[in-house]
Amino acid sequence: MATFVFLYFAAVIVMAASLVVVVRNPIYSALSLLVMFFHVAGLYVTLHAEFLAAIQIIVYAGAILVLYLFVVMLLNVKREEQFNRQGPVALFLGVALLTEAVLLTVSRGFTVGTPEPGREEAAVGNTESIGELLYSTYLFPFEIASLILLVAMIGAVILSKKGIMESQ
C-alpha cells in the first residue's frame, strides 16, 4: 500500500514537473506547479511530516505561486513568444543528469528503497520536534537564513524606493 501511494505521488510529481517546463501557456505552467506542490506535500504526509506538508502548501502554493500568477496576469502573457537559445546547455545538462541517473540505478540495482518514515512519537508532535531542533541543533543556520531573508527584504525596499529618492 505504502509503495503504491509513493509510486502514485512520484509519477504525478515527475509528470507535473515536466509539464511546467513543456507547456507554452504560463498559466498552465503555474497550475502544473501547483499540482506538483500538492503531491510533494502528500509525500511529506506519508512520511509523517505533517508540519512540513502544511508549510509546503502555505508558503509555496499559497504565497509564492500566487505571486507568480499575479505577475503573469499583470503582463497578460497568453503565450510565451520568445525562444531562448538554450539548446546546447540543456543538452549538456540533460546528458550529464541522465548519465548520473543511469549510473546510480545500475550500481544500486532496480530496487526502490522504502524511505524511512519519521519517528512517530506519541508525546511530542511533529511541530514541537521541528521547533526544538531549529532552536537548538540548527540555531546558527536558522539565524543565518533569517539574516539572508532580511537582506533580501531591505534590497527589495531600496529597489522599489529608488525612483522616489532620486526625484526628491
Binding site: 505533517e50 502544511a54 504565497a63 500568477l69
Partner: protein, 354 residues
C-alpha cells in the same frame, strides 16, 4: 478489513452530516443577510415567497439551477470551469478539523470514533490556513479566464488583497498558539474550558488575545471579500469583479463559497478565541453524557453571533479605497499583530502557569 469499512462508513456519514449542515446554513444565511440588512435599513426584505419570505432561498436555488450556463466568447473554457470549483472546495474542506462538540471518543464495534470532529489532526490550524490560501487561485483564475477587463481587474485586486491579509490572519493566530501550546483545534478548545474568563480573548493571564481577535476579525472579513473590503467585486466600480461573466450554477458556486468561508471564519473565531463549544459560565453546561447538547448549542450560538457581526459590519461601513486597503493591512494591522506576538510570548515566559 471489517474495521476499515466501519471506519470509512462512520467518517463518510460524518462528512455528509457536516456538509449538509454547512450547506443548509449557507441557504439560511442568504435569507438572513437580506433580512438583517433590511431591518437595519428600516424595510421588510424579501416577503413574497412563502410565509414572511422564508422560502426565498429555495426559489433562488431553483432559479440559479435552471439558468442558462453562459461561457463568454474568448474565455479559456477549462480555467473558466475550474475556477468556481477551486473556490468552493477549499471553503468546504476546512470544516474537517473544526471541533463542534466535546472531545469524546466512542467505540463503535471495536473502532475508535470521535463523533464531534471529522479529523483531529495535530496541525489543524495550519491545515485551514493552507486551504484558505488555495481559495485565491479560483478567484484569480476566474478573473483571468473570463476574458473581460472588469473580471481581470477584480481578480488582480483580489490576489493582492488575499496575499496581504492572509499574513495578518496567520500572525493574529500565533498568540493563541503560544498560549495553547498546540496547533490542534481540539486541544486549543480544551485549553479554554471552565468559563468565559478562560477564553483566550479574555483570559487575563498571561495576556488577553482580544487585540489579536480584532485583527483576526478584520483580516478575515477581508479574506472573505465582504464589505468594507469587497474591492474584488465592488459593484459600483467593477460591475461584479472577478465573477462578472459567470451565470447559473457557476455563479452559485462563487456565492456559496463566500458564505461557506464566512461560516468557516466564524467557526475559527469561536474555536480560537471564544472557547469553542464551552459554555460561558460553568453552570450553563449540562453535566456528563448531556454535555454535547449544550456544547453544540453554545457553539452554534457563538458562530451565529459572528455571522451577525459580518452583516452588521456590512450594513455600517463604507468600502475602502484600494490604496487605503493596502496601507491599512501592511502599516496598521501587521505591526499591531507583530507587537501582540512579542508581548504575548514575553508574558507567557514570565507567567508560565498563567
Amino acid at each position: 478489513m471489517f474495521d476499515t469499512s466501519i471506519k470509512l462508513a462512520l467518517t463518510l456519514s460524518q462528512i455528509g452530516a457536516v456538509m449538509g449542515v454547512v450547506l443548509l446554513t449557507v441557504a439560511v444565511l442568504t435569507l438572513l443577510e437580506r433580512k438583517v440588512l433590511s431591518w437595519m435599513q428600516d424595510r421588510m426584505g424579501p416577503m413574497e415567497v412563502g410565509p414572511y419570505g422564508v422560502l426565498q432561498p429555495v426559489a433562488d436555488g431553483l432559479k440559479l439551477f435552471f439558468k442558462e450556463d453562459i461561457i463568454p466568447a474568448g474565455a479559456n473554457k477549462i480555467m473558466f470551469s475550474l475556477a468556481p470549483i477551486l473556490v468552493l472546495v477549499p471553503a468546504l474542506i476546512g470544516f474537517a478539523v473544526i471541533p463542534f462538540g466535546p472531545n469524546w471518543t466512542i467505540d463503535v464495534m471495536g473502532v475508535e470514533f470521535k463523533p464531534f470532529v471529522i479529523s483531529d489532526i495535530n496541525i489543524g490550524v495550519l491545515y485551514i490556513l493552507a486551504f484558505a490560501s488555495i481559495g485565491a487561485y479560483g478567484v484569480i483564475l476566474g478573473g483571468w479566464a473570463s476574458n473581460s477587463k472588469y473580471s481581470l481587474l477584480g481578480g488582480l485586486r483580489s490576489a493582492a488583497q488575499l496575499i496581504s491579509y492572509e499574513l495578518n490572519v496567520g500572525l493574529a493566530i500565533v498568540g493563541v498558539l503560544l498560549l495553547a501550546g498546540s496547533l490542534s483545534l481540539v486541544e486549543i478548545t480544551e485549553a479554554q474550558a471552565g468559563g468565559f474568563w478562560n477564553w483566550f480573548a479574555f483570559d487575563p493571564l498571561p495576556f488577553p488575545q482580544f487585540i489579536a481577535f480584532v485583527i483576526f476579525l478584520i483580516a478575515s472579513v477581508a479574506e472573505t471579500n465582504r464589505l468594507p473590503f469587497d474591492l474584488p467585486e465592488a459593484e459600483s466600480e467593477l460591475v461584479a469583479g472577478f465573477f462578472t461573466e459567470y451565470s447559473g450554477m457557476r455563479f452559485a458556486f462563487f456565492f456559496m463559497a463566500e458564505y461557506a468561508n464566512m461560516i468557516l471564519v466564524s467557526c475559527m473565531s469561536t474555536v480560537l478565541f471564544f472557547g469553542g463549544w464551552h459554555a460561558p459560565l460553568p453552570f450553563l453546561q449540562a453535566p456528563g453524557p448531556f454535555a454535547w447538547v449544550t456544547g453544540i448549542f453554545w457553539f452554534t450560538a457563538k458562530v451565529y453571533f459572528f455571522l451577525f457581526l459580518f452583516f452588521w459590519i456590512r450594513a455600517t461601513l463604507p468600502r475602502l479605497r484600494y490604496d487605503q486597503l493596502m496601507r491599512f493591512g501592511w502599516k496598521v494591522l501587521l505591526p499591531i499583530a507583530l507587537g501582540n506576538i512579542v508581548v504575548t510570548s514575553l508574558l507567557a515566559y514570565i507567567f508560565p502557569n498563567g
